[in-house]
Amino acid sequence: MADRKTLQAVMISGHTNPSPGFAMQRDLEVCKLVDTTTCIGCKACEVACVEWNDMPFTPTTFDNTYQTMPETTAHFWNLIKFNEHQNPDGTIQWLMRKDQCMHCADPGCLHACPADGAIVKYANGIVDFNQENCIGCEFCVSGCPFNIPRFNPETKRVYKCTLCSDRVGEGLEPACIKACPTGCLKFGGKDDMKFIAEERAKQLRDNFGWQNAGVYDPQSVGGTHVIYVLHDATDPERYGALPRNPTIPWSYTWWKWLAKPVFGTFALFGLLGVLAHHVINGPRVPQPEPPQKDGSNAGGHN
């Protein structure tokens, strides 16, 4: 966005060449790239998330897997999901996927939310919850195709990953990115991340035999600001409930933003309707009516 006010120098005294960064195009949209093929399941990102966001202890359930807990919670926004997938040739794939908010370009949570200012989408693509405006109706949970928003019964508000909007706003990468030891997590502009992801997918296809390797950036929600490189992009479900075709229920699209105001206006026409009935037809009065003045329609323009 060329009109964005930044501290980028455009004129420098005593400097004859073009100023540094001149004509540089800033990629406004940020993106987190998760390369599932290089994740080792160390959970450093989980710890970094809990640390940076100052989260209280969350009790966990042991379910005989490496997974920290079955699902993310209101106090645990970043969870590595461990899945075992059996290939047709009988070999086992141990899949690790970092589960967190996808920061959709077309966020279902935001469309579903009835509260003014509870969910915002920033120009850089981050979708953030403002808990002080949240009314705790949980419609966002229903609107989200990735099952991300978590209701906290104690505060009666909903919480989720912020993509460390507080860090990103200061020019830092999200906490999880900083903690990742393998470079499986990357953070940068959306176009750059998409380019790196496609290059990696091509590498997987050409050099490692993953013929279906690809990038997960679902266009049914306008693309996401967290994208995955998958061994098999044709079957994202095997990574633990990653939907192939995430959709927002039409309750929160055309029903909420078109039908509801239209029908609501119709209801107001009902009020006009009874007024019109009173003006045109007049009341029905108990019979017999008192005799009229001169036998004709009293008071009318006859």
């Binding site: 009835p114 509260a115 003014d116 405006n133 949240c134 009314i135 705790g136 109706c137 949980e138 419609f139 949970v141 229903s142 609107g143 989200c144 099952n147 978590r150 209701f151 009666k156 229920p249 039409w250 309750s251 929160y252 029903w255 509801k260 105001p261 029908f263 609501g264 119709f266 209801a267 009902g270 009020l271 309707g273 009874v274 009935h277 009173h278 037809n281 007049g282 009341p283 029905r284 009065v285 108990p286 019979q287 017999p288 009516e289 008192p290 005799p291 036998g295």
Partner: protein
């Protein structure tokens, strides 16, 4: 609950409320609604509007800033709305027990419904002779609210508990059905209030004082009039007309033509 137990409950309730309140029926009037009927009606009305207005704020983003402050903000609106709705359904359920029998569909009601255009336009000045304690329009509204309450209980429970318990699709479907039910009732309430006040004068006092004029009764509910007085409504109306004309002529003898 057996029908006998319901009857016993209703009788007990009517008796209790008759002690609590009073209904004065003047000469030329008939008792229309007991104290119990009236208390129930206005309790239901109160919770209907509380639920309606607290729901408006959540219904549309354009209404959020207008209606949520009435209940102390968005959070309180969201917390209170289900309780208002539950109270509305509960008291309406008592009204169903109270009015189940008079609200049952009768053969005359189908005729009334076929004739609704002439009745609503005022072309038919008197309701059809089969019209009993409640007319077909009132019965339709009553049973629509019964159906609406069932929709409210099912969808409202799902919305109240939320998607974390019932799943996102159940909530998304309930969201739409809850709206539709509310929109039908919103349309109905305009007609209900209009008909009982400006549309048919003399009706409002039935729910306030509990009594209506005999003329009101033979005009709008002829079969009920016949049932409580034993007189033919048409004859009674004709007699009143003759008396009215006679009075008028005595007052203005010069105008006799």
């Amino acid at each position: 609950m057996s029908s006998r137990a319901i009857e016993h409950f209703d009788d007990k309730a009517r008796e209790t409320f008759e002690h609590a309140g009073r209904t004065t029926v003047y000469r030329g009037e008939l008792l229309r609604h007991s104290v119990y009927d009236r208390i129930l009606h206005w309790t239901i009305a109160l919770f209907f509007f509380l639920a309606l207005f607290s729901g408006f704020g959540i219904y549309l983003p354009w209404l959020f800033r207008w209606f949520t402050p009435i209940f102390g903000g968005g959070q309180l609106s969201r917390i209170m709305h289900p309780y208002f709705g539950t109270a509305f359904v509960f008291f309406f359920f008592l009204q169903v027990l109270n009015w189940f029998v008079p609200m049952l569909w009768a053969p005359g009601d189908t005729k009334w419904m076929r004739n609704i255009k002439a009745i609503a336009s005022g072309e038919e000045k008197v309701d059809p002779p089969e019209t009993g304690f409640f007319n077909a329009g009132q019965k339709v509204m009553f049973w629509e609210i019964v159906a609406g309450c069932i929709v409210y209980i099912v969808t409202g429970t799902i919305l109240w508990a939320g998607a974390s318990i019932f799943g996102r699709i159940a909530v998304a479907v309930s969201y739409v059905l809850h709206d539709i039910s509310a929109l039908i009732m919103l349309g109905g309430i305009f007609i209900h209030i209009y008909q009982s006040t400006f549309g048919e004068p003399g009706t409002f006092q039935a729910m306030v004082r509990g009594a209506v004029s005999e003329a009101w009764a033979w005009t709008f509910h002829p079969a009920w009039y016949k049932q409580v007085t034993g007189r033919d409504p048409e004859d009674a109306c004709e007699e009143a007309r003759r008396k009215m004309v006679g009075d008028e002529n005595r007052r203005n003898p010069s105008q006799i033509t």
